[in-house]
């Protein structure tokens, strides 16, 4: 299945340029995506943009590990992969005096439907991730790291490998970085089609060359991670935020956002908007502004609902989301999650039953099979939503859907069970009438199906 050069030449005409999704003037105060044009990913361009200055500052001015962690804590940076855990706090959990090998892992297994930000960071600004990882490794006294990249974005994996070579050649990775006593070896690994490997312990299993089945926690990776050694795992965007924080200070980062929600965030806007793409904006920006940046609802239609934080987050109807600001606290207060910042927009032509049917199929497909409530429950959920969509639903199905969802939640090793159950509960909570209509009338409330 080697693709010949001639065939690759044919395929090249369908390759995205990134102009529509990344290199536009509709970011607000960008830090990670600033100044990118698709042709300036390489190390000399990154250095010309001020890259590797943060690492240089740390290694040449004698900053201590404690000082670096304190700045990251002060910044209010929270994990950009979905959980929103405070990054500085996570770093402080690492046993810095541990005598054996420790590992740093970047989670670039971006597969949460709706999320497409890490791909663009790695493709167009890979060195910002390398620099962020090197700083993290210094702060926690780690000498080896891996970046595990989603298998479906193989060209991006190859780009990151090329960037690693550049960084090694320039002395930003390897032994005695910039003449200091700090050494850090960084490698790239890839997945090959398993959503579950975005879960950090499943990722570790995969990185160890096994099936990607999540581990029971505790022990947490900080004490028992890769190869059983203390390990810190952060998302790509989290690492990418670090150089700016070191260069500008924790307080400056915090001031870009709002209290408890520091910095900028890249939102991937997909679905029914005029301009799907990535938008880097300060945390706390009103959703209405983000929608405007994305060109508004497609074809001038009316907004129906938004899945605000990737497919696992509960849907929010238009009237609720239009009152929200885009940050962890506001979206949580509205009853959903900011998650990975993947904003899936649905217009008023969309059937919510059909939308949920597709999502439920996905979770059934991607359940690793380890825990019975998830393995059996995701299939059960899909079969019920599917029959409701096909006009074969029963009146008892809505109560049963809720019951099955409730019995999955909190009863599995990892969050995939919850991720499958939450969209079901959110859809039924806010759009119950559509499900009831399907069951009683055997038809849809809207004429145009997705």
């Amino acid at each position: 299945m080697t693709t010949s050069q001639k065939a690759l030449d044919v395929l090249a005409q369908f390759r995205t340029s990134g102009v529509d999704t990344c290199f536009h003037d509709r970011h607000i105060g960008p830090q990670i995506l600033a100044g990118l044009n698709g042709n300036n990913w390489s190390i000399q361009d990154y250095v010309a943009r001020g890259g590797y200055q943060a690492l240089r500052k740390i290694l040449t001015t004698g900053m201590t590990q404690d000082e670096v962690i304190a700045i990251v804590k002060e910044s209010g940076l929270r994990g950009r992969g979905g959980a929103g855990f405070p990054t500085g706090l996570k770093w402080s959990f690492m046993p810095r005096q541990f005598p054996g090998q420790k590992y740093l892992v970047c989670n670039s297994d971006e597969g949460e439907p709706g999320t497409c930000k890490d791909r663009e960071i790695l493709q167009h600004n890979p060195h910002i991730v390398i620099e962020g990882m090197a700083i993290a490794a210094f702060a926690m006294g780690i000498s080896v790291g891996y970046n595990y990249i989603h298998g479906e974005i193989f060209q991006t994996y190859e780009r990151f490998e090329a960037a690693l070579e550049e960084a090694r050649a320039a002395g930003y990775l390897g032994d005695n970085i910039l003449g200091s006593t700090f050494s850090f070896q960084l490698h790239a690994a890839h997945g090959f089609g398993a959503y579950i490997c975005g879960e950090e312990t499943a990722l570790l299993e995969s990185l160890e060359g096994k099936k990607g089945q999540p581990r029971f926690k505790p022990p947490f990776p900080a004490s028992f991670g890769l190869y059983g050694k203390p390990t810190t795992i952060n998302n790509t965007e989290t690492f990418a935020a670090v150089p700016w924080i070191i260069n500008n200070g924790g307080q400056a980062y915090l001031e870009c956002g709002k209290p408890n929600n520091g910095g900028t965030k890249i939102f991937s806007v997909s679905g029914d908007v005029e301009r799907p793409g990535n938008y880097e904006i300060p945390m706390g920006t009103p959703f209405s502004k983000l929608l405007e940046l994305a060109g508004g609802v497609r074809k001038g239609r009316k907004l129906k609902a938004v899945i605000p934080g990737g497919s696992s987050s509960p849907v929010l109807p238009a009237d609720i989301i239009m009152e929200c600001t885009m940050d962890y606290d506001s979206i949580a207060k509205a009853g959903s999650m900011l998650g990975s910042g993947a904003v899936i927009v649905l217009d008023d032509s969309r059937c919510m039953v059909k939308s949920l049917q597709r999502l439920s199929y996905f979770y059934m497909h991607e359940s690793c099979g380890q825990c019975t409530p998830c393995r059996e429950g995701t299939g059960w959920l899909w079969r019920m939503v599917d029959r409701i969509e096909r006009g074969e639903g029963r009146e008892s199905d809505l109560a049963l859907l809720d019951n099955v969802a409730e019995n999955i939640m909190g009863r599995t090793i990892c969050a995939l069970g919850d991720a499958a159950a939450m969209p079901v509960r959110g859809m039924i909570k806010h759009f119950r009438h559509e499900f009831e209509h399907h069951i009683t009338h055997k038809t849809c409330t809207v004429s145009a199906y997705v």
């Binding site: 398993a194 806007v269 679905g271 799907p276 497919s311």
Partner: protein, 171 residues
């Protein structure tokens, strides 16, 4: 789909073995198994699928039981457990893509190729499969060719051109 692989393959090339070695070198000496994902994908890139012979070669190289390698092959969606067409095409149909005609793109492709979804054209040129989220939702509709090349904004016109142009490639 049978979990027993009955298709056979030729020995892996020297170049492939050299690529295996580069992957193995990324990991600690006592953790060679970590390279299994990459080695399987490299074997697939050379031969179009992962044969039992390839699994055995990789198992020996990495100090794994062949069954442990097979577990990996069968757990991850992108490994082909049997031969596929010269161009394997996966069209994403997950919700964000579906909202921008991802499902329509899959069905259009099936019609264009004259095959069912999941099938291979009689000339062995194309295999068509649905795909799950590829992490390129803003580029929808998207598809992946032979695991490694992503094509974006695939309108029906572009799908037709993709098929026509690939058919016209004379090796």
């Amino acid at each position: 789909m049978s979990s027993v692989n009955t298709h056979h393959s030729a020995p892996l090339s020297d170049e492939t073995h050299a690529r295996f070695a580069r992957e193995v070198a990324k990991y600690p000496d006592d953790q060679k198994q970590s390279a299994v994902m990459a080695c399987l994908s490299i074997a697939q890139q050379e031969q179009g699928f992962v044969s039992a012979e390839s699994e055995r070669v990789i198992a020996e190289l990495l100090g794994m039981a062949p069954m442990a390698v097979h577990e990996v092959t069968t757990f991850y969606n992108m490994y082909n457990q049997q031969p596929v067409g010269k161009f394997k095409i996966n069209v994403c149909t997950n919700l964000p893509c579906q909202l921008r005609n991802g499902q329509g793109a899959l069905l259009h492709m099936a019609k264009k190729l004259g095959i069912e979804v999941g099938g291979t054209t009689p000339d062995g040129l194309f295999t068509l499969q649905p795909g799950e989220c590829m992490g390129a939702c803003a580029d929808a509709p998207v598809l992946l060719v032979n695991d490694r090349t992503m094509c974006s904004y695939m309108s029906d016109d572009k799908l037709d051109k993709l098929v026509d142009d690939l058919r016209a490639v004379k090796e």
